[in-house]
Symmetry: C2
């Protein structure tokens, strides 16, 4: 699929050797995205109390979650630069300074993200060389979306890119380009993992922040691979207005653009769930009839994070009691005698009693589908939530039992 | 190991065919414990909103958690009798009536527990026959602790039994005998799994309840295999006073007895963690320096339930960043720059910065030890908690991906 690149944006990814330590010497591990003019930026970050140095630095550069006059984003993979104390923070600052120096930008105009192993210092000699090389290429090589989207991958098996073009009523078009990495250590209650959204739309930074908050809440934050909230989760939206300088989006134009942000975010979140470490199935947990959206989300997350639910799905086992019982310990009060559950529209449990079904046929259905939808209905209210998750497989265990050693 | 049987108690386990459906025709699946005189009883049960019929019935027979004049407990394995609606409740009542009829007891003097697959109706023809057979043997066969402790097993690989004898200052001795089953769908915030404690100590029912509440909180409730709170968790303590009729324990005698209950409960909880489905290692997560015990427990549980932490332990990978980051999303505020972590006394992370260590030696240590202790220190207060858990292995996934089908 070909993606349009928003006006004024360029990007590249290079291999500097961070991954060399993990036996992948030639793999790209540093990405830079650069705007030829100032952009507004907004960010949402992990809610983990133990957060990485790049997250700390981005928060400073986006007071209240947004700012103006940003010019670039730099990211590295293979090392999270988390739990690295003062030295890690200084390394994150240096990464941005290297970009600013290399591209002739003002100090403080670059954002930074990292992903990979926690608790190791960045190999700064390699990082310096990599950032230098990437900056040098940005001016005179074609935009390399492919290199940039590969350079942020860790155990992802494929890059994750999504884009939309929005036609404005004025006749102009604006372009939105998003990319993300996922794979594991992924759970909502935050702005999940690394996600980067770039656009040439004209926005003020408050608008950008609002749009990002709303879309992340129902996309990246409605996603759980393994219930483990990362130290590094970062989603950024940068808008440089190159498509229509000087006149910001408003009214229905702004709504259309917000819809595109939601769609791109949802698409990236779905790609992350279906490319989760070891996963064989993409699973949606829909909860309806809750008192609040937060209640629905708590229940959906208890179901999505239960290893018993996840392994049953892997085994194509219609063991619905695990789903119903996970709802019961989510910490949300409800009338258990009113609970009902469907899988792909087929009833499994109706108002507190088992619905008879053909277990063999149901298991065959589960085995053949790549995507399954479980819908749990409560009788408490009118709010709901749809959460993306995956199964738990021996391959997940294999990948994660041998990560740093 | 030989266990003393408390005076006045007898027990047996038989195979009635509940397990036949799961391809284990000869396996024992019904257990009965019987006191030759009235006993006081106390119980703690799952906090899951979706709770099984036997839990509902036990709660009725132990108003405020305890009661007098109980005579027997019946348990079956292979079927949880959970999510079975009114019919499941009637089946649980019938199980107790069958015991009361078979042993000539008053109606309402029997407690009941079940464990196994959720959402299936009990095969009552087999259950009737099994209870009949067990009742018939209780009068004239020797006590069979072995049969009873096997009959409550599901995926447990071995029975779990613990006992203590307490010498009273009066010169008499009282005996406490406990047994439990575990394996999976095990997480604290409740009275975990099935645990049965029988004694000939003279207690009033309020004392029995208090002792059980306190000991369960720090033993069965400080245990997590997979973070999934069951629908059927039940721990019962029954005391018939046969060792010294008429004079209840008090003062230091009561304290000594409470200590024995704690020790037996802790021993059974440890057995459950080390015999968890697929587990290769018993792991203790100790959290200290928390503001409250509840805070410490929340953090320990976030660590114990993280699949990333559990798989790293399985792989003997000293990937301590996963432990520290799990603490960060537990929902407990703390100063992350003051965090420290040790494994078996060896420092991994000290006051927010990595402690240098030899990863190869550390990994070799992890591979050789059957038990590992992770100690996380906060600087918020003086409270702590010690939680038992295990690793996450391909075998857990295999066992749980093919359970009902």
């Amino acid at each position: 699929m070909t993606h349009r690149i928003p006006l004024g944006w360029t990007m590249n990814g290079v291999a500097c050797g961070i991954r060399g330590a993990s036996g992948e010497p030639g793999r790209r591990d540093v990405a830079i995205w650069y705007s030829d003019r100032p952009a507004v930026a907004a960010g949402v970050f992990t809610q983990n109390l133990v957060f990485a140095a790049p997250v700390a630095l981005c928060r400073e550069r986006l007071p209240h979650g947004h700012n103006t006059n940003l010019r670039a984003v730099v990211a590295c993979s293979g090392n999270a630069n988390a739990c690295t104390g003062d030295r890690g923070y200084a390394d994150a600052v240096e990464m941005t300074h290297l970009v600013e120096k290399g591209l002739g930008l003002n100090t403080g105009s670059t954002l930074v993200a990292s992903t990979g192993v926690i608790g190791r210092f960045l190999p700064m000699d390699q990082v310096r060389q990599g950032i230098g090389e990437a900056c040098a290429t940005l001016g005179h090589t074609p935009v390399s979306l492919d290199n940039a989207s590969h350079a942020i991958m860790t155990t992802d098996t494929r890059p994750k890119v999504s884009s939309r073009t929005v036609s404005l009523s004025s006749g102009e078009t604006v372009t939105l380009l998003g990319m993300a990495k996922g794979a594991a250590m992924i759970s909502p209650d935050m702005a999940t993992m690394l996600g980067f959204l770039f656009t040439d739309a004209p926005l003020d930074s408050t608008q950008a922040h609002q749009i990002l908050l709303i879309s992340s809440k129902r996309t990246f934050n409605c996603l759980s691979i393994d219930g483990h909230t990362s130290t590094n989760d970062t989603v950024l939206l940068l808008a440089n207005g190159a498509a229509r300088p000087n006149i910001n989006l408003e009214g229905s134009e702004l709504e259309d653009f917000a819809k595109a942000v939601h769609e791109v975010s949802a698409e990236l979140a779905g790609m992350i769930a279906s490319d989760a470490e070891g996963a064989t199935k993409l699973v949606f947990v829909e909860v309806e009839g809750a008192r609040t959206e937060a209640d629905a989300r708590k229940i959906a997350k208890a179901i999505a994070d239960s290893p018993l639910v996840k392994t049953a799905i892997y085994g194509a086992d219609p063991n619905w009691g695990r789903i119903v019982s996970a709802a019961g310990y989510a910490g949300v009060p409800f009338d258990a005698s009113k609970l009902s559950l469907w899988m792909d529209g087929l009833p499994l449990y109706l108002e507190g009693a088992p619905a008879p079904f053909d277990a063999t046929a149901m298991s065959a259905h589960m085995r053949h589908q790549k995507t399954l939808v479980f819908r749990l209905a409560l009788a408490e209210g009118t709010h709901g939530c749809r959460l993306a998750t995956c199964d738990l497989t021996p391959e997940y265990v294999r990948l994660n039992s041998d990560y740093t050693t």
